[in-house]
């Protein structure tokens, strides 16, 4: 396949040969554009489930142990008798919410959609290096989604040891009912998920390295591609470690080994486990778990870079500094995992080391934030919905990132660890920010994906309500965390000490419900525009990157005829040497035109 990328004659033959049936076109497709759409739609469905769960447990937290008919309808008589949510299902809901949002929506759907769509189109390739592996990657993701969702219907309930599944809680069905079949399905689903993710990542890396079109040097790549490329590398480095942790946990659970378990007395008997350590699991988990934050965040930042530059009609400020900071973040992200474990019982000296490396990561993050702001300066901002979400991302990235200085500092972490302060921090910095990045990407590339436009007014409504509700939910949450309220409590009514926080919880839930409900505006816009949206022009946002030089209609091989050659970097917006305010990458340099950037 890789040779095909540059051979015109074979391409043509290829096109004529392919008579697509419904199955090869829409189901077992090897076309990266179709696979991207499959990822996106699967991700949206998983997102509906994940966000929907958060609405349910937010209601429980605001009005603890009150009866809601909707609980009974959705959770059934076992888990919500008379409409009162049980503590078992509460823990299951927060666990599966976390798992689905982190892995299935913000990892698979975000990277899967935009890496697949944009890597070949923006580097000028006919398709991914291995279309077949790409297809397998999607179908494994689909399978793992099915298994994860089906675990919701297991009799004892789905996994409920938290999305971090720390053993022994996750290893012993005696400890919590969700650690029976529910946990087994969780582990199987994640193992398949990781295989899918690795196949995708390998494909992205190989494609970016090998299939760039003529003239597309690494320093002419759009920042989206840089972000996807580095994200894929982080994934390849860290996901296998989670797989090994999952496998060892399966051994402990099913075959009686003692990797993570030792000296346990539960349900009236001593178990045989001897010599293992739950702290080992924490190390393995967070060796993925922390890079995972950047696996989620970097693609969102890459999308934002592209959208902000295009809609500011300005070059992204500090292109090389942006690349350097992506690389620095990637490197540092693999050596900071211990900041999740300051009080896990590991040697406090390690805590010192991880404080140091963790706070270092603030430097490249600050560079990125300042560069975005400078890109806006003296721009000619086209405030499309995608642009609003990108600006929103920078805002939540700063707000959420700053509190990371507190959590990354071992001394301060002692008292806020595992409180709602952490919940507020990571939801803003990786949850909301990455979701904004995803929304920005969808609004920006929807015409490229479906050949139609999303309704902008619905987009505006969607953004503003979401933006206000996101702050409305997570800003007050910092305070209840600083008041010492632990996370993952089914209700706080057993602690009169926390009675004065209840009003805040009601406010948070109100914002959450409004924000959640308004995602329906997006869903309506998305699904109706696929069929009834206004027809898109080829390059609606007047963008420089190569994907907009391909025809609106999707064809195999992306470009009819020859692949465009690249002559310049992707950010020649408002270049003084040109009359129009954008110069696509495939426009040759004018006679005597100077390169105006480093």
């Amino acid at each position: 396949m890789s040779a095909e990328g540059h051979d015109h004659a074979i391409d043509h033959e290829h096109e004529h040969h392919h008579k697509d049936t419904f199955i090869t076109k829409y189901i077992f497709s090897i076309d990266h554009k179709m696979i991207a759409k499959q990822y996106l739609i699967t991700g949206i469905i998983m997102g509906i489930i994940g966000v929907g769960m958060s609405m349910l447990f937010r209601m429980q937290l605001a009005w603890p142990e009150e009866s809601f008919k909707i609980f009974n309808i959705l959770l059934g008589d076992k888990f919500a008798p008379n409409g009162v949510m049980t503590n078992d299902i509460y823990l299951a809901l927060v666990t599966i919410h976390g798992t689905i949002m982190v892995f299935f929506v913000l990892t698979a759907a975000l990277s899967g959609t935009f890496s697949n769509l944009l890597i070949p189109l923006q580097i000028g390739a006919r398709d991914m290096a291995s279309g077949f592996m790409n297809m397998i990657s999607y179908w494994l993701f689909f399978l793992s989604s099915i298994i994860m969702v089906s675990s919701l219907f297991v009799e004892a309930g789905p996994a409920s040891a938290g999305w971090t599944i720390y053993p022994p809680l996750s290893a012993l069905p005696q400890a919590i009912p969700g650690s029976g079949l529910g946990m087994t399905l969780w582990l199987v689903s994640m193992a398949i998920f990781i295989a899918s993710s690795l196949m995708g990542s390998l494909n992205y890396v190989v494609t970016v390295i090998n299939l760039r079109t003529k003239g597309m040097t690494m320093t002419r790549l759009p920042l989206t591609i840089w972000a996807f490329f580095v994200t894929a590398i982080i994934g390849i480095v860290s996901f296998p470690v989670l797989l090994s942790a999952a496998l060892l946990l399966i051994f402990d659970r099913s075959f009686g080994t003692s990797f993570f378990l030792s000296d346990i007395y539960i349900a009236g008997e001593v178990l045989h486990y001897q010599g293992g350590s739950p702290v080992l699991f924490e190390h393995l988990f967070w060796f993925l778990g922390h890079p995972e934050v950047y696996i989620v965040l970097l693609p969102a930042l890459g999308i934002t870079s592209e959208v902000i530059a295009t809609n500011s009609r300005k070059p992204i400020f500090g292109y090389r500094a942006m690349i350097m900071s992506i690389l620095a973040i990637a490197f540092l992200s693999t050596i900071v995992w211990g900041h999740h474990m300051f009080i896990s019982g590991m040697n406090p000296f390690l805590g010192s080391v991880f404080t140091f490396t963790t706070l270092l990561i603030a430097i490249p993050s600050a560079v990125k934030a300042f560069n975005y702001i400078t890109t806006l300066w003296k721009g000619n901002l086209q405030l499309n919905p995608a642009m609003l979400f990108s600006i929103g991302l920078v805002s939540t990235f700063i707000t959420g990132g700053l509190t990371g200085i507190i959590l990354g500092d071992s001394t301060l972490d002692i008292n806020v660890h595992d409180t709602y302060f952490v919940v507020a921090h990571f939801h803003l910095v990786m949850g909301i920010s990455a979701l904004y990045g995803m929304f920005a990407g969808i609004y920006h590339w929807f015409p490229r994906m479906f050949g139609r436009m999303l309704n902008k007014n619905l987009g505006y409504v969607h953004f503003w309500v979401t933006a206000i509700c996101a702050y409305g939910v997570f800003f007050p949450m910092h305070f209840i965390g600083l008041a010492g309220l632990p996370r993952r409590y089914y209700t706080n009514t057993n602690f009169p000490l926390f009675d004065d926080l209840q009003n805040v919880n009601v406010l948070i839930t109100t914002f959450a419900l409004i924000g959640g409900a308004f995602q329906l505006v997006f869903l309506y816009n998305f699904f109706s525009s696929i069929f009834y949206g206004k027809k898109a022009v080829q390059n609606p946002w007047k963008s420089n990157t190569l994907e907009w030089t391909a025809p609106v209609e999707h064809i195999h091989g992306n470009w009819p005829g020859e692949i465009p050659h690249v002559y310049r970097w992707p950010y020649d917006y408002s270049n003084p040497a040109h009359d129009v305010d954008f110069v696509p990458q495939n426009v040759p340099m004018k006679e005597g035109e100077e390169v105006l950037h480093h």
């Binding site: 500094a321 300042f370 901002l381 805002s395 200085i405 309506y524």
Partner: protein, 385 residues
């Protein structure tokens, strides 16, 4: 039920909004060109002003939050090292607020100020090494300061010298309660392992160990003011976390290993209750509780008890279904009261003896159990050493 109604209203509101935008679209039929979904000058104008408005929202919401919810957060630390933690926290907060205030203004103000106009051209400004150097170096310097202060404090808190004069107390976690084991006169905890658990010996103390003879196991934690307490933590089943927010103290309890955390309480419970902020907080909580009590009584349920403050040890690591109610009261006494309280507590050895004496041979099965326990105990002791 009312909440369901609220949700329905919200959904209807959403429906109404989308219908409105549809009508808005229809009124623009004349200009139904292909690029009508791209921001026009008018859109840029409206959205630019909204960005400015959003900046106001962030500011007002932050300031409102500081006044409204600021008083809810943990106040005066009740431990000697807590002051240092809070000091570092406050310095960090000042920095965060400064950076937050500046960057959010720039971001949203630029979004407003440079909103697009048809004939406007953006400035081609691709890079500037000086600027980039400035905003790499400034955070680096500031963070270096924070890191140094943080590491200094961390080392002070976490490392306890061998020869330091401390009282050693074990915190013992299990689903879903806490116990405490006092090391007695020798100030050394006897050996323990879950394989010793049997009957009244609920925390698995090795009763044959000479150091165990004076150990005392209780379910309410008393500690003396003004003396450093070295907590040794164990768990018998899953991960727990001993969280004592008022003392700025937390450490996980890990099955199979002993973790530790030390601090010195500086206010007795009685003193802490009298601190002005706490008097105010408790009054506020009780006002809320009596309001709720009226509702409860109206529904025919019992009213809530009035609240008095006590230090708490909470579980802060998800540990199972009743995680949300795994707590133990901590009472900080004056050193004299502490001694008096501890004096008449029975040792674990005598408690076990008493329990054995009572139901002597109530059932024969217990005999075989104990031999089994001894077998595994031998393994456990070698494993522990």
């Amino acid at each position: 039920m009312t909440s369901l109604l609220v949700i329905i209203v919200l959904v209807l509101l959403a429906v109404a909004l989308w219908q409105l935008t549809k009508i808005f679209d229809l009124t623009q039929v004349g200009s139904n060109s292909d690029s009508s979904e791209i921001a026009t000058d008018n859109d840029n104008n409206v959205q630019g002003y909204l960005m400015f408005g959003f900046l106001a929202f962030i500011y007002i919401f932050s300031i409102y939050g500081l006044f409204k919810w600021g008083p809810l957060v943990l106040h005066t630390p009740a431990s000697a090292h807590g002051g240092e933690v809070d000091n570092l926290m406050n310095i960090t907060w000042v920095l965060i607020f400064i950076v937050q205030a500046i960057t959010q203004v720039l971001l949203h103000y630029f979004a407003f100020k440079y909103r697009g106009k048809k004939d406007q051209k953006a400035l081609y400004f691709a890079d500037n090494n000086k600027l980039e150097a400035i905003w790499s170096v400034i955070p680096a310097v500031v963070l270096a300061g924070l890191i140094l202060y943080g590491l200094f404090a961390w080392t002070n808190i976490m490392f306890v010298d061998e020869d330091e004069d401390t009282i050693v107390i074990e915190l013992y976690a299990q689903q879903f309660n806490w116990k405490a084991r006092y090391s007695g006169n020798d100030n050394v905890l006897g050996k323990a392992n879950v394989r010793f658990i049997e009957g009244a010996n609920a925390v698995g103390v090795d009763l044959a160990d000479p150091y165990s003879q004076d150990d005392i196991v209780v379910t309410e934690l008393h500690i003396p003011k003004g003396k450093k307490i070295l907590f040794k933590m164990r768990s018998q089943d899953v991960l727990h976390s001993a969280y004592m927010p008022h003392f700025r103290a937390q450490m996980n309890c890990v099955p199979g290993m002993v973790t530790q955390f030390a601090f010195e309480p500086i206010y007795t419970t009685a003193e802490y209750r009298e601190l002005p902020f706490m008097v105010e907080k408790v009054a506020n909580i009780n006002a809320l509780r009596s309001k709720k009590s009226i509702e409860l009584v109206a529904k025919g349920e019992t009213a809530l008890d009035p609240y008095t403050f006590d230090y708490l040890l909470l579980c802060n690591k998800i540990c199972g279904a009743s995680h949300y109610n795994m707590q133990m009261k901590i009472i900080v006494d004056t050193p004299e009261d502490y001694k008096a309280w501890l004096k008449d507590k029975a040792t674990i050895v005598s408690e076990v003896k008493a329990a054995m004496a009572e139901p002597a041979a109530a059932d024969g099965a217990s005999g075989t159990d104990s031999t089994k326990a001894k077998d595994t105990a031998a393994v456990a002791v070698t494993a522990m050493k």
